[in-house]
């Protein structure tokens, strides 16, 4: 990938200490977000995609243990930052849009108050100017009558409008990186299409980078430049969006694409599935993590863990079959 990266994660390992034992949530994860690009992280529930995004902001819960690796934001390691440095990072240089806009907005404050409060760092302008900035940003994300709406409370907006407000708040600090964790899961398809369109427009206007987390392959294909496929806490494949959708090399990526009913051209009652279950992250099996469910697995897959193999200049897969 490109040399100039806003975010660069190297060899990241994160465990969670639970009463049942140590959950190995992420293992040897590497990821680059080139400046100005949109990188998508695809993974099923429990693959570690949310853990990864929380780690990038230093927001991991207390029972998380960093087993190794670095999270470099413009070259500085987030994992070794002190509280003051983290405060400077969050909300200003990196912001986050969460899945459910109802729980991100404070229900007892008007959105105007919240949008002014979030600019607390900026001491050079007064409250009236901050309100103006809030209005301009709301207009930017497509909220009509923004001036009047500032006095309204979150419950007076529909789900789609609330998510637009959450995005507007995320962009107020003019961040270099916006992390969007399943931002459209709670919305209807029609609103989803509108939000994706909005994110694409905003990327052009703000020249920021976006880390987009989703389990919806359609949205990833619509929006992203690069795609990272996460399975059971490992990056099994990454590449450009064209690599992943047209030339997938890892059997898991292939299986995911086959399972998407939107990709089936012919109508059929019996839908393809990936048999088996996600491995128990308390005890990672030896060999490849996907081997127990992989239709192409052979003896070596069950004994030896594969390493990342490059496929061309932009793509890489963690699979024995890709060995040159």
């Amino acid at each position: 990938m490109a040399a100039d990266c806003v975010l660069s994660i190297e060899g990241l390992a994160i465990d969670f200490l639970t009463p049942r034992g140590r959950v190995h949530a992420l293992r040897n994860v590497a990821l680059d977000v080139p400046r100005g690009s949109i990188v998508g992280i695809v993974g099923e529930s429990g693959s570690g995609k949310s853990t990864l995004s929380l780690a990038a902001l230093g927001l991991l819960p207390e029972n998380a243990v960093i087993g190794g690796g670095r999270i470099l934001f413009n070259g500085a390691d987030v994992l070794t930052m002190n509280k003051a440095q983290l405060r400077d990072l969050r909300g200003r240089r990196v912001s986050m849009v969460f899945q459910d806009p109802m729980t991100t907005l404070n229900p007892v404050l008007s959105i105007g108050t919240q949008m002014v409060d979030i600019q607390y760092r900026d001491r050079s302008v007064d409250a009236a100017q901050k309100r103006q900035k809030a209005v301009a940003m709301l207009q930017r994300v497509g909220i009509p009558d923004a001036e009047q709406r500032l006095a309204r409370y979150p419950h007076e907006f529909s789900g789609g409008m609330r998510q637009r407000i959450a995005i507007a708040m995320g962009l107020l600090g003019n961040p270099e990186l916006l992390i969007a964790d399943e931002p459209t899961t709670a919305l209807d398809v029609t609103l989803e299409a509108q939000i994706i369109h909005l994110l694409r427009q905003l990327r052009r206007e703000f020249k920021g980078s976006i880390l987009f987390i989703s389990h919806n392959l359609g949205l990833i294909a619509e929006l992203c430049d690069y795609v990272v496929i996460l399975y059971a806490g490992e990056v099994v494949e990454h590449g450009t969006v064209h690599d992943i959708f047209h030339r997938p090399r890892h059997p898991y990526t292939e299986a995911l694409l086959v399972c998407d009913p939107a990709r089936l051209d012919d109508v059929r009652r019996e839908l393809p599935t990936i048999p088996g279950d996600v491995p128990n992250l308390l005890q990672i099996p030896t060999g490849c993590v996907f081997a127990p469910r992989c239709p192409k697995a052979f003896d070596r897959c069950r004994q030896q863990q594969p390493t990342d193999h490059a496929v061309g200049a932009t793509q890489s897969a963690r699979c024995h079959l890709v060995t040159p």
Binding site: D188, V189, L191, L217, P261, L271
Partner: protein, 329 residues
């Protein structure tokens, strides 16, 4: 095939406010009409899909059919009888034949009951106390492809896919003829989604079940349903064979919904968004055709006159003044 369920001009109305407040606020219609003038029939052994955005009335329609919300006008006919009309005894019998699968399976399973109690609760409710509940629970779990030793577990010990299957097992407990499934795959990963849909298909084949599936996932509708209806603000705006509607949608709203589905191919990105805005409030229904505020093809007539139901082909009808497909001459 015979007709199992027949719904005729069904109208569900909720009271939004009292008459005095309505006058003070200046709203003429103090009722919310969640379902308006809906008529359709479902053939035994087939799958009927209801689609639409949130607030379109699809879940309310499902609940009205099973008698969970009161019907304001219209009739529901099941197997030739009219179970929702006055008289409670027939309603209880009807509810044995019609089961509901609710949206969020984890939320719809009581956290304090074991899987055994959860899936055999319908027997207690319907007074079938002589059944061996443990054996029944194991039989039902086997039917949905779960290991029988799950009977002693609690809902929080199940995965999302397993919880769905328990929900399916519970709806099958009384051997119903019709199952109304509200968003059976929402929130599931694609691989698990396929498993649940395949399970429903297998059960339909083996037990001769009839389904009404309520969903906003059109990719799923295309694969699993025989007939479908698109709802907007409580009305059917288009209704017909799934194949015909996917081949060529007549109503601009259906077309917009289909176009809003993301295509998992980076070479086919859409540059424009066909359906802008959101569903208007039911308290302030737009005049004429309710969709005219968002319709890319709306004209003067759409703002003033409500389109009546028009038949495009046998079994395929729509409500649009300017349909995208001209009726066959």
């Amino acid at each position: 095939m015979s007709t199992l369920l027949e719904v005729d001009r069904l109208h569900v109305r909720f009271k939004a406010m009292g008459p005095i407040k309505a006058r003070l606020v200046g709203i003429e219609n103090r009722f919310l009409d969640a379902v308006l003038d809906v008529s359709f029939a479902v053939q035994a052994g087939s799958t009927f899909a209801l689609v639409g955005e949130s607030g379109s009335g699809k879940s309310t329609l499902g609940r009205a059919i099973i008698g969970l919300v009161p019907v304001h006008a219209g009739t529901v006919k099941f197997d030739g009888a009219r179970p929702l009309d006055r008289g409670g005894s027939r309603l209880a019998a009807y509810r044995r034949h019609v089961a509901m699968m609710f949206q969020d399976p984890v939320a719809s399973l009581s956290p304090r009951l074991t899987v055994r109690s959860l899936i055999t609760e319908p027997f207690a409710i319907h007074g079938l106390r002589d059944k061996d509940r443990d054996a029944e629970a194991r039989r039902l779990l086997a039917l949905v492809g779960l290991p029988p030793d799950l009977v002693g577990r609690y809902p929080h010990q199940l995965s999302g896919g397993q919880a769905r299957r328990v929900g399916v097992a519970r709806s099958l407990a009384l051997s119903p003829k019709l199952i109304i499934a509200d968003e059976p795959t929402a929130g599931l990963d694609v691989s698990v989604q396929g498993e649940i849909l395949n399970l429903l298909t297998r059960l339909q084949r083996e037990l001769g079940l009839t389904y009404i599936i309520i969903t906003h996932n059109l990719a799923v509708v295309r694969h699993v349903s025989d007939e479908m209806a698109v709802m907007y603000m409580g009305r059917f705006v288009e209704h017909g064979p799934t194949k015909a509607i996917f081949a060529q949608a007549a109503h601009p709203y259906t077309h917009g919904l289909l176009a809003a589905q993301p295509v998992p191919d980076p070479d086919r990105r859409r540059d424009n968004v066909e359906l802008q805005g959101e569903v208007p409030s039911l308290a302030r229904r737009p005049s004429g055709c309710e969709f005219h505020t968002r319709c890319p093809r709306a004209q003067e007539l759409c703002r003033s006159a409500r389109p009546e139901r028009q038949t495009l082909a046998p079994g395929h009808d729509h409500r649009c003044h300017f349909p995208l497909v001209p009726a066959a001459a």
